[in-house]
């Protein structure tokens, strides 16, 4: 379980926008979004923290170990991260972000496959005002999106 991962570049690129991690697999053209706990785990993984350290940094009063492991597997399966032989960062640098998170949510990887259609949306007017592109306003039928 002492696995260390890294961003699967160059086929994957990721950026942080207002606390949300957005990643694109350039081979498949699929867009991924990670928020809250998912974004924290992503950042910890790409910073070079071992999976074991991440699991041990989770708040002790929650039981989402299995969800976190599944989430990391999903990231790897979708070509966003890959294992590396590099050494892990010290555990001490990890805990503060998780502690500041407040109520713990289960990490989910949201994906958007039909980018051709999503990019036709006006990013200012045709999207949810609270979240922004690529999320449709409430009540609109989604294109091809959903959690994995």
């Amino acid at each position: 379980m002492n696995l260390v991962f890294e961003l699967a570049s160059p086929q994957c690129s990721a950026e942080e926008f207002d606390g949300e991690i957005v990643a694109i697999n350039l081979d498949s053209g699929i867009y991924y979004s990670m928020k809250g706990m998912a974004s924290l785990i992503w950042t910890a993984l790409c910073d070079g923290h071992a999976v074991e350290n991440i699991l041990s940094a989770l708040p002790s009063d929650t039981d989402i170990r299995q969800d976190v492991l599944s989430y990391i597997q999903e990231l790897e399966r979708n070509g966003l991260i890959r294992q590396t032989a590099a050494g892990a960062l010290p555990k001490a640098e990890l805990s503060s972000g998780f502690a500041a998170l407040g109520p713990v949510d289960r990490p989910t990887l949201e994906s958007f496959g039909d980018m051709q259609s999503l990019l036709l949306l006006d990013p200012v007017h045709e999207v949810d005002e609270g979240i922004g592109w690529p999320n449709l306003p409430e009540g609109c039928v989604g294109l091809d999106s959903g959690g994995i």
Partner: protein, 503 residues
């Protein structure tokens, strides 16, 4: 020395949006507020959309409660994602070319993103542009075709034809199910056709990395020069894009730029007036401090100013006289390697008058003296007044056109074309032509077969010349048919099988 008034280069919207990019955040916020006081996000044009992530960053730092931020919430994600998906197509094209040992050079925005990776979340890209050496175009085209790229409006075979030597500098290619297009260029600038410039760009190119892929980009001096020289002041969107491109480059690299190198190219191609207006606009509106060397060496004479003023007029509104002036400037600075020199003053003046049959014959006599290269084995050479060759033929563009027929056809005594007139709303075209043996004319709408007699010109080494006067040429844009700004009259299809006069 006369100076251009740069205040007129941008309209108010363009000036304020460029000001919003300033590193001086208070100045930038003031420019943004002035822009928003008269325009809404709903009505914002493509210029504002292109830089909206920067505007959003500005608001986050200067006015975090600004209501626009709610609407702009997803714009940065949208821009970054769109850019990346366009790069995806670009990288596929680069890999396809490298499979044939061809290394393309990135141009314009694509080169800027490779130079400054952080820009890909701040600036919306248009399509990605790559440059190939002309000698690699046919082989590169075959590699791109094998990789699944398509070409719209042309066939891949056209790359082996007269297209490369025409006024067209490149073509868009795309791939089914992929977002965006890649513009495949064989000249770095559409308005300068000089093989030496292409060679220079490749020789001094720098190596960068774009998402793990090693790429070539122009050195910073060549990048800045091409942004300046490409600058067309009549086109507000293109102008703004080129100015923001230069502003980004200068913001990061001003201290490293060898201004002597930039000025050498500016003077070689006579774009001093454009350079002065461009650099002063960036300095004044984007709040960039340029070294004195940036402007001190530029010599902006009256003729440069005159050209710059003409270029502020949209092409479809330029008079024949203005077109002639531009042709003369192109020839003066050897911006193009054309098979014909520009018309002289007498010819330009005669073209402005209402031509009679006698004048048409005289114009033909004057035109034949300007031919530098003869048609050789080419069946037809579209010398002057034609648009880019298309797969099926070529449109005339303007009121005058000159076409050269090869020696083989002259021996047969006549040449036939299938033509289509540009005739929306039952508009009839009048076509006057002179082939050296008198003047003929035709009036038609829609398709027609035209037959012309031609005479050889032994004194210039062979080759027959046909001069067309097309007084009813018009742009589809002005007739509300399409956005096409060319002055169309006649589409000449590929030549028919030759016949002899007596056949």
């Amino acid at each position: 020395m006369n100076k251009i008034s740069t205040g007129e280069l941008l309209d108010r919207t363009g000036s304020l949006l460029l000001g919003s990019l300033s590193s001086d955040r208070r100045f930038a916020m003031s420019a943004f507020s002035d822009w928003r006081s008269t325009e809404t996000l709903d009505a914002s044009d493509s210029r504002a959309r292109r830089i909206m992530p920067v505007l959003a960053d500005l608001l986050r730092s200067q006015a975090p409660d600004h209501p626009d931020l709610v609407l702009m919430r997803g714009v940065s994600r949208f821009v970054w994602t769109t850019n990346l998906l366009k790069f995806r197509l670009l990288l596929q094209a680069i890999r396809a070319l490298e499979s044939e040992s061809i290394r393309p050079l990135l141009l314009k925005g694509a080169a800027l993103y490779a130079r400054f990776p952080g820009l890909e979340r701040k600036r919306a890209s248009g399509d990605c542009d790559i440059l190939l050496k002309p000698s690699d175009v046919v082989r590169g085209g075959a590699a791109l075709r094998r990789a699944g790229f398509d070409m719209s409006g042309h066939s891949w075979d056209d790359l082996a034809g007269p297209l490369i030597a025409s006024y067209t500098a490149g073509l868009p290619i795309k791939m089914a199910d992929r977002i965006g297009e890649v513009d495949l260029h064989w000249r770095p600038l559409w308005n300068i056709d000089d093989p030496a410039l292409t060679e220079l760009f490749f020789r001094q190119a720098e190596q960068k990395t774009l998402h793990g892929q090693a790429v070539l980009v122009p050195c910073r001096e060549h990048h800045l020069f091409s942004s300046i020289a490409r600058c067309e002041p009549w086109n507000a969107n293109e102008l703004f894009t080129r100015l923001t491109e230069g502003a980004e480059l200068l913001r990061e690299e001003t201290a490293s730029i060898d201004w002597d190198d930039v000025h050498r190219l500016i003077k070689r191609y006579g774009v001093d007036a454009a350079a002065e207006a461009y650099l002063k606009t960036i300095a004044d509106h984007a709040g960039l401090k340029l070294p004195s060397a940036a402007l001190s060496g530029l010599q902006v004479s009256k003729s440069y100013q005159s050209e710059w003023r003409i270029r502020r007029t949209p092409p479809d509104r330029r008079t024949a006289w203005q077109c002639w002036r531009l042709t003369v400037m192109d020839a003066r600075f050897r911006r193009t390697m054309r098979p014909i020199s520009p018309p002289g003053l007498l010819e330009a003046s005669l073209r402005r008058a209402m031509p009679s049959p006698l004048v048409l014959q005289l114009l033909w006599q004057l035109a034949r003296r300007r031919v530098i290269l003869t048609a050789g084995d080419d069946t037809l050479r579209f010398l002057e007044g034609f648009s880019s060759p298309e797969t099926d033929g070529v449109w005339t563009d303007g009121y005058w056109a000159l076409l050269q027929v090869s020696e083989k056809r002259i021996e047969l005594g006549c040449v036939e074309f299938d033509c289509v007139a540009f005739s929306p709303n039952k508009r009839r075209q009048y076509v006057w032509y002179s082939g050296g043996q008198g003047v003929g004319w035709s009036r038609f709408s829609g398709p027609k077969r035209l037959t012309f007699r031609v005479r050889s010109l032994p004194e210039i080494g062979g080759g027959g010349l046909l001069l067309f006067w097309l007084p009813r040429a018009a742009s589809p844009k002005r007739l509300n048919v399409s956005a096409d700004e060319r002055q169309l009259a006649l589409f000449i299809r590929k030549e028919r099988n030759p016949k002899t006069l007596n056949a």
